[in-house]
Amino acid sequence: MEVAYYPGCTLKTNAKVFEESLINAFNKIGIKLKELNKWYCCGTVYSLATDNLMYRLAAIRNLIKTKEEGFSKLIVPCSICYNTLKQANLMAKEDEEAMAKINAFMDEEPDYDGSVEVLHPLQILAMKLDEIKRMVKKPLNKNYACYYGCLLLRPKEVAIDEYEMPTIMEKLVEALGGSAVNFPLKNECCGSYNVVSNKEAVVDRVYRIITNARKNNADAIITSCPLCHFNLKEMQKEVKKLHPDFVEMPVYYFSELMEKAFKEG
């Protein structure tokens, strides 16, 4: 099976390991992720903070390209891109006036009607748990805290799972032979872009999130968001400066666990 795949800029730069591990893991369960020939920076979630339709052009254009390249579904692994594209698609379905303007502006493209389904890879994996279990060569045998952050769950219209108490990542971990710990802070914000202008806020959040995972006996924390991954991983050094007794914790993309569990020997 081949599905259209939108990498986003970060998977081509700072999060290459996410892209590589995801493509490999999907190949193992018989799904080929076909990168769109033409795709554009989604505009990221802060583009959604205003009503300026110029910031929706990129997202809508990606959905048009998906259709043009013959696909009706689009897999988007980066939480930020997922959220942006999914919300833009919702707008395309619901806001006729906005879409009339966008379609008129993008007169070089066919009109867009909201008919592409934007999916997160975890949603695909949730339907493939049996195949995943069959592919496991080395069960994980460790405790994982599944960190969703905000963007996979909010606003609730774009949530990939039950938005207050998601379990979709936990089910994947269990299928891979690991155990998913209770993790109350799994949908707390990591501080996001504040890492640029208000680092202390992020350091504080990372301290709380990882301490909570640690208290619940997690050995590692997993995520699908390159920015959460960066904050959780890189800010631990800063946490350590403020809290010398803090014990650092490894951070992985969920796809890295799949690769690990699928590996022979």
Binding site: K12, T13, Y40, C41, G43, M54, L57, A58
Partner: protein, 240 residues
């Protein structure tokens, strides 16, 4: 009775708002010269290669603003014209030898790349019909090779930069991409390296010295009886 001269078909054009009648079929550049303008800037090769004669125009009854090269576009009746002799665009200063061709190289020198909203106005403005927005997006995600490849036919006319709502200097970004590609990424041409080495070692010095002593007539004879590369020979035949 004298034979009636065939009437020349004329079209109306507006140059910076003033109406002129010019023969149909002229290029914008020729039409402006016909109307009495003299180019002291904004004209170069007159053959669509140098990118000096960027021009913008509207057509009567059409809201769109078009962009093209004045030497390559034929005037139409009711065209409103203006020339852009220069593009004021920010150009980064760098030492190519000190830049690493990594993911961030282009965005570090041109951070305004991140302002791209994918409106595609640059692509619509490009007289070379390049996928300008696509190479800007490739630059944003650090794909230098792709940016170099997609921008290869850029003639630096600057129209993309003049139309961009995000104020990106596309053609300068692309030039940096091609420079980085050429220096660090493209496979090296072995034969070129060997030839440069031969030249440096003085293999051709003697021949050059002999040639410099020859008269114009002798040089002309040498030129006319030179070995012609097969491709060139064919072209010469076709021209005859």
């Amino acid at each position: 009775m004298a034979k009636k001269k065939p009437e020349m078909k004329m079209v109306r054009i507006y140059i910076m708002g003033k109406e002129y009648k010019v023969p149909a079929g002229l290029t914008i550049m020729k039409a402006m010269e016909y109307a009495g303008y003299r180019y002291i800037r904004g004209a170069g090769c007159r053959a669509g290669f140098c990118g000096a004669c960027a021009t913008v125009y509207r057509k009567e009854g059409d809201y769109k603003l078009y962009a093209d090269l004045a030497c390559q576009t034929t005037v139409e009746d009711g065209m409103w014209l203006v020339q852009l002799p220069f593009t004021p665009a920010n150009k980064a200063t760098y030492d190519l030898n000190k830049i690493k061709p990594d993911d961030k190289a282009l965005v570090n020198f041109y951070p305004e790349l991140a302002r791209c909203v994918s409106c595609n106005t640059c692509t619509k403005a490009c007289p070379q019909e390049l996928d300008v927005m696509d190479y800007i997006q490739a630059s944003l995600r650090g794909d230098i090779a792709k940016a170099a490849e997609l921008s290869f036919d850029c003639i630096q006319c600057g129209l993309c930069a003049m139309r961009c709502p995000a104020e990106i200097a596309h053609y300068h970004v692309a030039q940096l991409a091609r420079r980085l590609y050429g220096k660090y990424i493209a496979p090296k041409a072995k034969h070129l390296e060997e030839r440069v080495k031969e030249i440096e070692e003085g293999k051709y010095d003697e021949e050059m010295r002999k040639m410099m002593k020859k008269s114009i007539e002798e040089l002309r004879e040498m030129y006319n009886s030179r070995d012609i590369e097969p491709e060139e020979e064919e072209e010469a035949k076709e021209a005859d």
